[in-house]
């Protein structure tokens, strides 16, 4: 088996006495995109900042192509980063912005030439001499990505780059970004708190919560066999019954009467929505928490029961 391109080995970050994250390990092959998903405040951004060199790990090791990354100064790390905001420098034109990093290493002429050809490729060649405030949010974020890629980093870090954009633009842009990263064969780590975005952009996804990577794998593995209740509730569409058992939400049904073969929860029907021709009920459990289940042909009723068929109950496969 070949050596991984990027190898993150049991890194930890402690701030004062709080552990932000402990003992994280994962590795990536060249050109692979890893989505890092999880609720906000779990240290996803901190992890990226530590890899980038803007912050420091308390412990652990990061190897890239077999050489130690962490003992390199930020200036010499082959790592690029795109932030939540595009952060184009407001006093420079689009061309100057994109060429900024390359200009420092390779001189103005080569930098401008390269920036021009990249900007043409991403359809921004009409805006070369415009200032950032004249560009749309999507154009700015595309420019920020090109700016980071121009330095040809070995690893690109993307910290929720779409979070400041409106939903429609987000959708267009994430498809474009994935295609672009794949074309450049760019090894990347992409942080998001949106599970759909994680699936769309990443080859694999790591679900991070409570300071640990709870599970890492292909979308199918995470979605269909979550290892614990946390992953299930964050990444999958399931009803968590307790610490060991769950039921896929699509197998549950709504009923106005209790049942004998299986489990049931008393609940209140709040609303309904339609997706791909099916009707879904949004119900509020009496015990707290709200879930979405297929509504079937049932008429909406204010009070009723969520029925979990006995043979659809599954067990978490903790490793």
């Amino acid at each position: 088996m070949s050596l991984p391109y990027l190898d993150v080995k049991s890194v930890s970050k402690t701030f004062d006495t709080n552990n932000i994250f402990t003992d994280l390990s994962f590795s990536l092959q060249k050109g692979e995109i890893l989505s890092l998903a999880g609720p906000s405040g779990t240290g996803k951004s901190t992890l990226l900042r530590c890899i980038a060199g803007l912050d420091y790990f308390s412990q652990g090791e990061v190897m890239i192509e077999g050489s130690d990354l962490l003992n390199k100064q930020i200036k010499h790390r082959p790592v690029g980063m795109v932030f939540q905001q595009a952060l184009l420098f407001p006093h420079m034109t689009l061309l100057e912005n994109v060429a900024y990093g390359k200009k420092l290493t390779d001189g103005k002429k080569q930098a401008y030439e390269m920036a021009r050809s990249y900007l043409k490729e991403v359809g921004l060649d009409q805006q070369l001499n415009q200032y950032p405030h004249e560009l749309s949010g999507g154009q700015q974020q595309r420019a920020a990505l090109v700016r980071a890629l121009l330095l040809k980093p070995k690893l690109l870090l993307l910290d929720e780059p779409f979070s400041s954009l409106d939903p429609g633009l987000r959708k267009d842009l994430r498809e474009w970004v994935r295609a672009f990263l794949k074309k450049e064969d760019m090894t990347s780590i992409f942080v998001t708190h949106d599970k759909e975005e994680a699936m769309l952009l990443g080859d694999r996804t790591a679900v991070m919560a409570e300071g640990r990577i709870q599970q890492i794998g292909y979308p199918e593995e995470l979605y269909h066999s979550p290892q614990n209740a946390l992953v299930a509730s964050l990444y999958s569409d399931v009803i968590v019954l307790d610490k060991t058992r769950y039921c896929p939400a699509e197998k549950a049904r709504w009923s106005s009467e209790k049942t004998v073969d299986g489990e049931w929860f008393a609940a209140e029907w709040v609303n309904e929505t339609y997706h791909f021709g099916r009707r879904y009920a949004h119900v509020l459990l009496d015990g707290g928490g709200s879930i979405t289940i297929p509504a079937g042909e049932q008429h909406s009723a204010l009070k009723g029961y969520v029925i979990i068929p006995e043979d659809e109950i599954r067990y978490f496969h903790a490793q």
Partner: protein
């Protein structure tokens, strides 16, 4: 409507008084019913006094030195206060503002003794240092506001694009800070050029700045001479700002010019 109000108040409070002073400096005191009596006497009296030219230079150099030290000290302090968090940050911020609340005489008397001990009393360097007392707090305040407007991640972005500390400062921070730097230079220069008490005590009468001779002139009660002198006085901050702008343009280069055109 707002714009109109601005222009009208500009006219009443700024342009008209300045014009009147300009006219006054080249006419004898005017009485109703009499035509204006043009004279160059005011300007002659001012520039006949050899101390005037000399004190203009002294004032200009001290003001520029004060502005420079203000920036050198103010930029790192403002950056730390705006972009870093450390214990007792708010307390430090208040302490740095305190000189403004202290009676200037109290500071001057205490500093005078220190200056004598250090051999800085009666020197222009001593005066420059003491002018920092009423200027540095403003500079820190103004520059901190400037840094507050630059997102911290924008500087991180610069570093991720492999800019060194100096490169990032020159190409990102400085151009974005220009409006604040301009304000703090202006404040430092005008405050320094207007100091009387501090200059008199620390300079001991040997360091002659414009205010040192302006006040004695005031007693002459000759309106024409006073008007000419006041205009000469205004030239100092104006000259200092032109020099400072030229220097900033050299450092920040083209981006500095562009910021101006954009506004």
């Amino acid at each position: 409507m707002k714009k109109k109000l601005f222009y009208i108040s500009c006219l009443i409070f700024f342009i008209v008084p300045v014009l009147l002073m300009l006219i006054k400096s080249v006419t004898t005191p005017w009485r109703s019913g009499v035509d204006l009596d043009w004279t160059s006497r005011g300007w002659e009296v001012v520039f006949q006094d050899s101390r005037v030219i000399e004190s203009m230079w002294t004032t200009l150099l001290i003001a520029l030195a004060v502005a420079l030290i203000n920036l050198l000290a103010g930029v790192p302090i403002a950056k730390a206060l705006s972009h870093r968090s450390f214990p007792l940050k708010n307390t430090l911020e208040v302490i740095l503002l305190l000189p403004l609340f202290l009676p200037i005489m109290a500071a001057a008397m205490g500093l005078h003794i220190t200056m004598i001990r250090m051999g800085l009393a009666n020197t222009w360097l001593g005066v420059t240092i003491v002018h920092l007392v009423p200027t540095i707090p403003y500079t820190i305040k103004v520059l901190k506001a400037g840094y507050d407007r630059i997102p911290q991640d924008m500087l991180s972005q610069g570093r991720m694009l492999k800019a060194g500390v100096w490169q990032a400062f020159r190409t990102i921070e400085l151009p974005l800070l220009i409006p604040s730097i301009r304000s703090s230079i202006f404040l430092a220069v005008t405050i320094s050029a207007g100091q009387y008490v501090l200059t008199a005590i620390i300079g001991g009468g040997t360091v002659l700045t414009m205010p040192m001779i302006y006040y004695p002139f005031l007693q002459s009660a000759d309106d024409t001479v006073m008007a000419a002198f006041s205009i000469a006085f205004v030239l100092i901050p104006a000259a200092a700002i032109i020099i400072a702008e030229a220097a900033a343009m050299l450092v920040a280069g083209r981006s500095f010019m562009k910021r101006r055109g954009e506004v």
